[in-house]
């Protein structure tokens, strides 16, 4: 797969505070990349270096296999975290202006703006002014303005914040579709549960440093499936099995954490011998748990 973005040992600090430290990452075409981390971890700083709003103090940013150049930005769609539109300007004029700024002709920009507004179910708002629209509607307009010029690389900083579930789904579906068409999508969020099912690759950052990165499957496979959910009928004596580190028993439903490298299959055999098992699931750790485990461990160290 073609690599669209490459950061190579990039660092950026503001006065005494290091925003990004020695960050290296790659984003491939046709993939969704999640830049994850808590607030203030350096996600926005990283993105700003990719779109050239700030320059790295050291390290290299490569876009479309070329050293960073402003000309490359016509192939990038960027939705910043702090959104802004011209309050008094009509939606259609605004979209055409932003489209033109990214290299489209006025007529083409207008045509695309209309079809996108229809797709986003807001065709009747295109002649309104920004200030007449709700926050969620404004956010959709910004979403459209980011995609109008059909960018190969789409960068979205916290794209779902402030959206209701219906619009969140609409946006997610659109992004998935764009990914299928071969576009690369980078988004940053601190809501890890939201992106778990969307991302192909992730980079978890904390205090400006990458703590975990790689393909989603690969990252997850590095962590043991050490949580077990059991639904049973009958005796609960199997909960004293030596493989179990701790458990919560809700009566017929138990959530278990295993000791490291414990034998889950032996636990299943023991449980099946004493009770009727209706469900026995080895649960994959969630990104959030992985993050807390990783960062928590470092914070302690």
């Amino acid at each position: 797969m073609e690599v669209l973005v490459e950061l190579n040992h990039v660092s950026k600090s503001y006065e005494a505070k290091a925003a990004v430290r020695d960050l290296t990452l790659k984003i491939e075409a046709g993939s969704m990349f999640g830049l994850l981390g808590p607030n203030g971890a350096g996600k926005t700083s990283t993105i700003r270096m990719i779109v050239g709003i700030t320059l790295p103090d050291s390290g290299k940013v490569t876009l479309f296999n070329k050293p960073w150049a402003s000309a490359s930005l016509q192939r990038v769609g960027y939705l910043p975290e702090e959104r802004g539109l011209y309050k008094k300007m009509k939606i259609i004029d605004q979209l055409v202006f932003l489209g033109e700024l990214r290299g489209l002709g006025a007529a083409e920009a207008g045509r695309r703006a209309k079809s996108w507004c229809e797709r986003m179910q807001m065709a009747d708002s295109i002649n309104k002014k920004t200030e007449e629209l709700s926050k969620g509607m404004q956010q959709k307009i910004q979403f459209i303005s980011t995609l109008l010029h059909d960018p190969e690389l789409i960068i979205m900083d916290e794209p779902f914040s402030g959206l209701d579930p219906v619009n969140t789904m609409l946006l997610q579906d659109t992004l998935v579709e764009l990914k299928k068409q071969g576009n690369a999508i980078l988004f940053s969020t601190h809501r890890m549960d939201q992106v778990e099912k969307l991302c192909d690759s992730i980079c978890l950052i904390n205090r400006g440093e990458a703590v975990l990165s790689g393909g989603m499957r690969e990252v997850k496979s590095r962590y043991e499936r050490n949580r077990v959910i059991v639904q049973y009928e009958g005796a609960d004596g199997f909960l004293n099995h030596p493989a179990i580190a701790e458990y919560k028993n809700y009566g017929g439903h138990a959530e278990i954490r295993l000791k490291p490298h414990a034998d889950a299959q032996d636990l299943l055999r023991t449980a099946a011998a004493t009770a009727t098992i209706t469900k026995f699931e080895l649960v994959e750790p969630s990104l959030e748990e992985i993050f807390i485990e990783t960062v928590g461990g470092r914070a302690d160290a």
Binding site: E15, G52, T54, L55, Y78, P80, G84, Y86, L98
Partner: protein, 418 residues
């Protein structure tokens, strides 16, 4: 580079020209100005009319008649002259009352009972500082005496009329090789007009540019814009766009003024074309150059100031900084008018913030060497571009650093962007 700049300029221009406030001010400002001019005209007219009704009181009825004739003769003299000769105490009491309730402007008392040499004339009027009345009455009494003497020497009334016909003196001035009507008030009309127009333009449109920069900062649009265009393009586009709005409005107004000046209405008030306003062709030619130079320099300064603040309220506070060079120029105007070639005048006229007004005043007063004029224009243009560059730097750094001030090496690294 150019495409983005023009796009941004186009957006700023169209959004503003389409706005209601633009239409309202375009119509209201000339109406307001017209109103002010009309009021001024009324005041002037009242002055010219002078005193309408007067009375002449004398023991010598023949002399009083001649004074009346002398007073009524001029175009601007009183319309009604009542002769009370001789006057009783009751007459005087009545006249005093009429002066008090302003039915007459005043009365003239002439007493020649002691003979010609000890003639006494008194002008009694309702206002304390009635210089015009006093001068007019003095003329009236003197002329009246002459008329009486000439008539006594057997001159006919028509001969007298011809002899006493007043001569009107016309004045004109030679400036920049062109004859213009001379009127100290009008001599520097061009310079004063430039000051007024520039001052208003900077206050209205310069502040607009600052506001527009602050608006983008507070609504955070800049982040989207900066990911598609450079800060230089943004600033230059903004300056050209908002500037063009101001120029559009001023051209509309200028057309109205020129239309008025050439009209019958103006001719009726003694204005015949721009030359009668005291403007020579040289002055007219330089006017747009210095106006545009000044306008763009101050607008760019406003953009830089707008970039350095974070809230709209702060814009008001720095409007003082913005206009202070203009205020200094205005203070220096008198001095430059009288000493157009002194070292101070020359130096000031070459300093870009003062160039528009000071150099233009020098041109109005006495044409400076051409190299100085064009050097000042070149410096002005260079400083406009420099200011745009600086504004773009401040915008980019000030806006993104969230209150953190940029260090010098950081500023230098910004320059690497194309």
């Amino acid at each position: 580079m150019l495409r983005n700049t023009l796009l941004i300029a186009k957006r700023e221009y169209l959004e503003r020209v389409r706005s209601r406030i633009f239409r309202v001010t375009t119509v209201l400002v000339p109406l307001g100005m017209g109103g002010i001019a009309l009021l001024g005209g009324l005041g002037g007219k009242k002055m010219e009319q002078g005193i309408q009704n007067v009375a002449v009181v004398s023991n010598d009825a023949a002399l009083a008649q001649q004074v009346k004739a002398a007073l009524s003769r001029g175009e601007q003299g009183p319309k009604n002259v009542e002769v009370v000769a001789p006057a009783t105490d009751a007459d005087l009491a009545r006249l005093n009352e009429e002066v008090t309730n302003r039915t007459i402007g005043g009365y003239l008392t002439i007493d020649d009972t002691g003979g010609r040499d000890s003639l006494q004339a008194t002008w009694t009027s309702g206002s304390a500082t009635d210089f015009i009345g006093k001068a007019e009455m003095e003329g009236g009494v003197s002329d009246g005496l002459v008329r009486q003497q000439l008539l006594a020497r057997g001159m006919s009334d028509s001969q007298l009329q011809a002899l006493m016909k007043p001569v009107k003196l016309k004045t004109q001035q030679l400036r920049n090789g062109q004859v213009v009507s001379s009127d100290t008030g009008k001599s520097f009309a061009g310079a004063y007009a430039l000051v007024l127009v520039l001052y208003c333009a900077v206050l209205i449109y310069g502040i607009n540019i600052a506001r527009s920069v602050v608006e983008e900062k507070t609504s955070r649009i800049f982040e989207v814009l900066l990911s598609s265009a450079s800060a230089d393009e943004l600033m230059l586009g903004k300056l050209l766009g908002v500037g063009a709005v101001g120029l559009t409005q001023m051209v509309i107004w200028a057309v109205l003024v020129i239309g008025f000046v050439g009209s019958q209405l103006a001719a009726a008030r003694g204005i015949h074309g721009l030359a009668s306003l005291g403007l020579t062709n040289v002055e007219l030619g330089y006017f747009p150059i210095f106006f545009l130079g000044g306008f763009y320099l101050y607008s760019a300064l406003a953009a830089a100031l707008g970039s350095s603040v974070s809230a709209e309220q702060e814009v008001q506070q720095f409007s003082f900084i913005l206009i202070s060079p203009l205020v200094i120029s205005v203070v220096m105007l008198m001095y430059v008018m009288q000493n157009p070639s002194s070292t101070l005048s020359v130096v000031m006229s070459l300093l870009p913030p003062f160039t528009p007004i000071i150099m233009y005043m020098r041109i109005c007063a006495q044409m400076p060497p051409l190299w100085q004029v064009w050097l000042s224009v070149a410096l002005l243009v260079a400083s406009v571009l420099g200011m745009v560059w600086l504004a773009a730097r401040i915008y980019r750094v000030g806006v993104l650093m969230y209150g953190k001030r940029a260090t010098l090496p950081e500023m230098i690294r910004w320059l690497r962007y194309s």
